[in-house]
Symmetry: C2
Subunit: 194 residues, 2 copies
DNA sequence: TTTGCTTTTGAACGCTTGTTCATTAAATTG
DNA sequence: CAATTTAATGAACAAGCGTTCAAAAGCAAA
C-alpha cells in the first residue's frame, strides 16, 4: 500500500524537518528515533531517506538553517550610534529567539551530537554572531559611550543573559515581549555605562 | 562477619557515579550506555546494578546531589546589607559553578531526561535557589538600594548571565577566577542600581 | 581450612536502533 | 489509455540497548 493519497514530495520534505525540529527539541536528538519522526509525519521510517541522507544531516540542517537566519537578520546599521546599535541588538536578539524556541533550544543543546566537521561549521556561525555584538561594544568603548573593561566577557555575558529569556518567556504570559525587551534593555544599558 | 576492610563496594560505588558524571556530561544521558559506564569503571555492565537500581536513578542522584550541595553552600548572612549579600551571591555562584563544570552541565542539559517525579524534585530545588537571590533583590528594592522594577526577571537574568560563565571559563585561561568575579560583579552591581 | 557473605562475571532476554532495498502504488506525461 | 516517474511501503539487517540472574570468584571471620 505505497503512497496512500496523492503525491507529497514537496509537502513531505518540510513536514519531516518540522517533525524533527519539534521532536529533537522535546526529547533530544539521541532520544528521538527515525521511526518516531516518521510516525509524527505519518509515514514509514524508510520514507524519510527520500528527504535526508541520514539522521545527522537532519540535525545539522536544522541548526545551520537557524544560525544562517540569525546572522542574516541581525541588524547592522552603521549610521546609528553604538548605544542605538546595542539597543537594536538587544531587541532583535530577544524577539528573534522568542519566535523560535525550538530552534534555539536545539542550537544550544545538541551541539555535542554534531560530528566534528558539522560542529566546526555551527561553532563558526555562533562566533560570527558574537562578533557582531562585540564590534558594537568596542565601538562604544572607543567613543567612551560604554564603560566596559573587557568586551569579550561583556559580549558573552549579555548574550547569555538575553538567551536566558527563552527558558521562561511564553507568549501570553504575565509580561508582553515589549515589556521584556524594555526590562532587559534597561539592565544591559546600565551594565555597559558607568 | 561482614567484609569490612577488603570490600570493593565502597570504592566501586563512587567510581560508578564519577564515570556516569563524566560520560553524561561529555555525551549526554541518552547517548551513554550502561556498558560504556561500566567500561569506564573497568567492570561488566551487570555489576553496575549493585550500585544503582537503574540508569535513571544514576542521573537523578547526580543532579539531586548537585542541587542539594548548591543550596547547602549558598551564603545567607542576614547581618549583611542587600548589596553585600548580592556581591556574596555573585561570587559564590561563579566559584561554585566553575568548580563543577560537569555537574552544572548535566543539571541544565539533562532535565528532560528525568522522569516526571524526578523532574519535579529537581525543579523544586532550582526554584528554591532562585528564591534565595530574589529575596536579596527584594530586600534591596525595599531599602531603595536597588532600582529593580521586576525582581523575578532580574533574578533570572542574573542567574543566566552568571551561569553562562561556564560555557567559556577554563582554569588557567586568560582570566583568573578573581578577575571574572570582579567583572561580573561590576556588571551586576550597575544593572541593579540606578 | 572451612564457612558465609559480598561482589563480579558473562550469558541471555526481548526490544529498539539507523539504514537499505526490492516491491508496489499513485501521479504525471504522452 | 498506456508508459513513465516519483514516492512510500514493509521487511530485513547487524548492532546495540537496559536489565536480569545463576554461577563463579574473592575475601573476612571462625
Amino acid at each position: 500500500m505505497a503512497r496512500t493519497t496523492g503525491s507529497h514530495s514537496d509537502i513531505t520534505g518540510p513536514r519531516v524537518r518540522a517533525a524533527a525540529l519539534r521532536l529533537f527539541a522535546a526529547g533530544g536528538y539521541a532520544a528521538v528515533s527515525m521511526r518516531a519522526i516518521a510516525a509524527e509525519v505519518g509515514v514509514q521510517a524508510g520514507a524519510l531517506y527520500n528527504y535526508t541522507p541520514d539522521k545527522q544531516s537532519l540535525l545539522f540542517d536544522l541548526m545551520q538553517g537557524h544560525m544562517t537566519d540569525l546572522l542574516a537578520q541581525t541588524p547592522s546599521q552603521s549610521g546609528r550610534s553604538p548605544m542605538q546599535q546595542l539597543q537594536d541588538f538587544v531587541a532583535f536578539h530577544i524577539r528573534f529567539h522568542a519566535d523560535r524556541p525550538d530552534e534555539v533550544f536545539i542550537a544550544y543543546m545538541e551541539l555535542r551530537n554534531l560530528t566534528e566537521e558539522n560542529f566546526a561549521v555551527i561553532e563558526g556561525l555562533r562566533r560570527a554572531y558574537e562578533d557582531r555584538l562585540e564590534a558594537i561594544l568596542r565601538a562604544g568603548a572607543a567613543t567612551g559611550e560604554f564603560a566596559v573593561a573587557d568586551t569579550k566577557i561583556v559580549t558573552l555575558a549579555i548574550i547569555a543573559m538575553l538567551t536566558g529569556v527563552n527558558t521562561w518567556y511564553r507568549a501570553g504570559g504575565r509580561l508582553s515581549l515589549d515589556e521584556v525587551v524594555a526590562q532587559y534593555w534597561d539592565m544591559v544599558r546600565k551594565a555597559v555605562t558607568a
